[in-house]
């Protein structure tokens, strides 16, 4: 038995020595080829991977009210944020025109990405109305709000809030807020007298226009 062991040991020892040399060589060549592979597989870093396109940014939000009785009477609420959501420039808000007491206006919203020259409105109204929802806010103004009869109806029966009707009841100055939510869990276009309410969505638009005048 012991002799048997010794022979095996001798065999394995010689086997070890030649093998160790072989594996050393193998190992070194493996490293070399890997290092070569590494240096060849470099990419076009110097271009920074290409100029970033910002496909989802909404730079211009235009909220246009047209007097139902007089198409030339237009109130425009405009917010322009040329560098997008995370750029340091704050949006420039402007209100042109004033509402007339007693008149009813139909409003639509336009969403535009000036960085990529992209019309976002159709993405909301045509492509994915069921995943979007407008919620409005009126503060300090005596107005009656309704989602227009021509407004887009979602699959769940709620109205998107893209086209809305606003009646100016008495003179005053206040604010109008427009919010657009994406992927809300629940929406209700009848809540808050039609201004709408939602839960669980994330805001794509949230702008408060102040100094809106009814005269």
């Amino acid at each position: 038995m012991k002799t048997n062991n010794s022979i095996n040991n001798i065999k394995s020892m010689t086997f070890l020595n030649t093998n160790a040399m072989k594996t050393t060589k193998l190992f070194l060549s493996a490293i070399l080829s890997l290092a070569l592979f590494a240096s060849c597989s470099n990419d076009d870093d110097s271009s920074g991977g290409g100029e970033p396109n910002e496909d989802e940014v909404i730079t211009n939000v235009t909220f246009r009210f047209v007097n139902n009785a007089d198409a030339s009477d237009v109130v425009t609420l405009l917010s322009v944020d040329p560098d997008g959501d995370d750029g340091p420039l704050e949006p420039t808000l402007s209100v042109t025109g004033a509402f007339n007491v007693g008149d009813t206006y139909t409003a639509t919203v336009n969403l535009y990405n000036s960085i990529e020259d992209e019309d976002i409105t159709i993405e909301v109204t045509e492509d994915e109305p069921d995943e979007h929802f407008f919620v409005y806010g009126i503060n300090g103004l005596d107005m009656t709000f309704a989602r227009s009869a021509n407004d887009i109806e979602r699959m769940d029966g709620n109205f998107l809030g893209f086209e809305t009707t606003w009646t100016a009841n008495s003179a005053g100055t206040g604010t109008i807020t427009v919010q657009l939510f994406h992927e809300s869990e629940t929406v209700d276009s009848n809540a808050n007298e039609g201004l709408g309410a939602q839960t669980g969505g994330s805001a794509d638009v949230n702008i408060t226009f102040s100094d809106v005048v009814i005269q």
């Binding site: 160790a20 989802e56 994915e128 994330s202």
Partner: protein
């Protein structure tokens, strides 16, 4: 038969030369490392079936030998048994070298795994296989919380980042089989890409004591080691199957290892893990599913003098992020916080929808070592890692299937390490490191959070360990690191100018006429030189008590997120801005440990003080308005921070069967204005009572109480914003930590021997027995939902 033939041959051989039997063999047995003679080694002369013993000088003499081969089997306590064959054709003198500290070389078959610490004077704790196996269905970060002073910072329950003494992410080094993990580790929501099942043992070193691994471990080092391979013919493996009620999760992991006495080995390990939506006590946590697959392969050959290893590991994690945590702006966040429960609660599902992460990590390593006599061991290593991180957000239209964040990080590292162990009382270790890293961020339709960059690192270190006498051990180390980061980044021109970079860094601007005027292309290049050092001592008071003291200096350059972050972070509803002007942070950490290891009572007390100059952290600096609403702006700032604390572990055996274990951690952190630092773990203490009975199938059952106090020291980063519906101001409370909580857990297991070689372990656990609702300050989704409710787990482990 063989035996017979061999005897016959030897007999004939012997007979033939019978008349020449007057040769002498003079031998000398020495230690391989330092050449000292080995006294009283046992020498078995196979052909003569006779034993002799080496003398005081390691010498021996065999007389009246015949011509031919003689086989000696030499053994000595603590040495590897060695067989040598000597050809005798006259008088011979032969020196035989024995390996004298085999216990360090993983080559003795011991029961269980003998655990070797990475450091001598640092605050190091080792987690054993048996502990890690309890976490088979969980994450690395969950398992590490077994160690007092280690907590975790979570994003939900599947993204768990370890935190050591209040520090995490880039301040921790994680080594997987001696490869430093490079996986975009700077992000709080980027969990380490490690399959806990691939680890056989994990060492956690608090602070920067382990300089060989890196000089920037301001928080600590986590060393993950795979199964140790023993030099013997064997085939063994294990399989773990588990199921969990919460999330209806299941997991499977299997390992198989084949080893040979000649040193060759091969091992394969794979895991699969899946769970659906978790459940808080009162509601389902929608979209918190997880699917994870991993595999690792190892092969190589290891003998005493040389060896090599090839290692490959792959892990792919797909992790759902709580649906309700996706928010658009500050108002959404206020709504979420005030509603007290998630807005999106749906029925249980295994589906993983957006927002989600998909991360794939490949690691390849080749290592070779050779031992030189009278010198020591030289180790060469090359490793390659490829980490692809995809983060899918809720996006409009066709973009919904495209990741918003897509980063591929490739890292090549060459490492040379030399261990000089000629003199075991004066060990010396030095080495060099070269590393190249490339981050690739293709266009995803959103501004890159992290730009394309190339990073070059070079490091050199030397450490030494002196055993002064039986009671005193001293170690010291020094390390230098050079880092260059070479980035290519498109800034918004408005941001570049708003930061004042056009004045401070005009040299980085690269004029290009093929891009829009609103963007500016830049090539920031930064070089950092970092010095780190460590010195420590250990004093053995007596056989049961010792104390350790350690001082370490660590230096960490800013990471790409700290330098270049620039954009909206949806999951946090905040704009995060890096700063090109950041300086490396420098930590001076002093620590002391007292350890008592008695027959019944074991105590470990760690205390530390960590003064971190230029500590980089995120803090809100204002609110930025956009068409999307308001976002708080969080900027990376620097302060001189002070952290101090105590970690306590006490274990007491009341009887042979009842054990009480307490782990308590206390930490405080302040900035230079004595304001508390954000995200510091609250005081926590856990107590467990374990009953165990070795005679009864190794049965054990334990009840654990986990008590976490409310963090009452926190920076107040709250602010007020307009409510879009009412127009009134409302408070955004992102700062106030959740209240204290107390949880009870139960765990029991037993072992059944199936036959000589295989055994079955059955374990049942109940986490959060009373289904208590709670939120954890260090969970970033605490604003949106409660933590996990009761979870009953069953695990079967088969060893074979």
């Amino acid at each position: 038969m063989k035996y017979f033939l061999t005897s016959m041959m030897l007999f004939i051989y012997g007979f033939h030369y019978a008349q020449n039997c007057d040769f002498t063999l003079l031998g000398e047995i020495k230690d391989f490392h330092d050449g000292t003679p080995i006294t009283a080694a046992n020498i078995y002369i196979q052909e003569l079936d006779k034993y002799i013993i080496s003398d005081f000088d390691g010498k021996f003499k065999i007389e009246e030998l015949c011509k031919g081969d003689i086989t000696l089997v030499i053994s000595h306590i603590g040495c590897e048994t060695k067989t040598v064959t000597i050809s005798i054709s006259g008088d011979v003198f032969k020196t035989i070298l024995l390996e004298h500290h085999i216990e360090q070389l993983n080559e003795v078959a011991v029961k269980g795994s003998s655990r070797v610490k990475e450091t001598k004077t640092a605050q190091e704790t080792i987690l054993k296989t048996e502990t890690l196996e309890q976490y088979s269905h969980l994450n690395l970060g969950d398992a590490l919380k077994e160690i007092s002073g280690v907590s975790s910072i979570n994003t939900g329950n599947s993204i768990v980042k370890p935190m050591i003494n209040g520090l995490h992410s880039s301040r921790l080094l994680i080594l997987n089989n001696n490869v430093r993990l490079q996986d975009h580790e700077w992000g709080v929501e980027h969990a380490p890409n490690i399959d806990i099942n691939s680890a056989d043992q994990i060492s956690v070193i608090k602070g920067a004591g382990a300089l060989a691994y890196g000089g920037d471990a301001i928080g600590g080092v986590i060393v993950i080691k795979p199964d140790r391979i023993f030099k013997k013919d064997s085939l063994f493996g294990k399989t773990i199957i588990g199921g969990q009620t919460n999330g209806r999760g299941y997991n499977l992991t299997s390992t198989l290892t084949k080893s040979y006495e000649n040193g060759w080995f091969a091992s394969i390990q794979g895991s699969f893990k899946k769970n659906g939506d978790f459940k808080a006590p009162e509601y389902q946590l929608t979209n918190t599913g997880l699917q994870s697959e991993s595999i690792s392969l190892r092969t190589g050959k290891s003998t005493f003098k040389s060896g090599f290893e090839l290692f490959y590991s792959y892990i792919n994690n797909e992790i759902g992020i709580l649906a309700s945590s996706h928010i658009g702006n500050v108002n959404d966040l206020i709504t979420a916080i005030n509603s007290q429960q998630p807005a999106i609660v749906r029925d249980f599902s295994y589906d993983i929808d957006n927002p989600r992460q998909e991360v794939t990590h490949h690691l390849f390593k080749a290592t070779y070592f050779k031992r030189f006599k009278n010198f020591g061991k030289v180790n060469l290593q090359y490793d390659y890692q490829n980490n692809n991180r995809l983060e899918f957000d809720i996006r409009r239209g066709d973009l919904r299937n495209q990741a918003a964040l897509d980063l591929t990080l490739q890292t090549h590292t060459l490492l040379a390490d030399v261990n000089v162990d000629v003199n075991l009382d004066r060990k010396l270790n030095f080495g060099f490191l070269g590393r190249f890293q490339d981050n690739l961020a293709p266009n995803t339709g959103v501004r890159r959070l992290i730009p394309n960059y190339e990073k070059y690192d070079f490091g050199a270190y030397i450490t030494s360990e002196w055993q002064i006498n039986d009671d005193w051990l001293v170690d010291a180390g020094l390390r230098y690191d050079f880092n260059r980061i070479d980035a290519f980044k498109y800034y918004q021109r408005s941001r570049w100018e708003e930061r004042g970079y056009d004045i401070d860094f005009p040299e980085f601007e690269i004029p290009r006429d093929d891009i829009s005027g609103s963007n500016i292309f830049t090539n920031p290049v930064f070089d950092y030189h970092n010095i780190s050092a460590s010195v420590g001592a250990r004093y053995d008071i007596d056989i049961e008590n010792h104390i350790i003291g350690n001082y370490s200096l660590a230096s960490r350059p800013p990471n790409p997120a700290e330098l270049f972050s620039d954009g909206l972070h949806h999951s946090a509803a905040r704009i995060e801005l890096g700063d090109l002007r950041l300086d490396p942070e420098i930590a001076n950490r002093v620590s002391a440990t007292y350890k008592h290891s008695g027959s019944k009572l074991n105590i470990a007390i760690d205390v530390f003080y960590n003064a971190i100059n230029n500590y980089m952290y995120l803090r809100p600096t204002g609110v930025l308005q956009s068409n999307r609403g308001a976002f708080p702006v969080w900027e990376y700032k620097q302060t001189n921070a002070n952290l101090f604390g105590t970690d306590l572990t006490i274990s007491y055996d009341f009887t042979n069967q009842f054990n009480w274990l307490n782990k308590t951690a206390f930490i405080k952190g302040y900035d230079e204005d004595d304001q508390p630092l954000i995200d510091m773990p609250a005081f926590s203490t856990s107590n467990s009572i374990t009953y165990s009975n070795k005679d009864w199938y190794n049965f054990s059952a334990s009840l654990k109480s986990e008590w976490v106090l409310e963090q009452n020291e926190f920076p107040d980063f709250n602010f007020e914003v307009d409510n879009p519906t009412t127009g009134e101001l409302q408070l955004l409370d992102v700062s106030t930590p959740p209240p204290a909580y107390h949880l009870l857990h139960f765990y029991t297991e037993a072992n059944f021997d199936l036959n000589l070689k295989s055994s079955l372990n059955i374990a049942v656990g109940i986490n959060n027995i009373f289904d208590t609702s709670y939120r954890n300050y260090l969970n970033r989704l605490r604003y949106f939902a409660d933590d996990l409710g009761r979870n009953i787990t069953l695990q079967l482990k088969l060893n074979y």
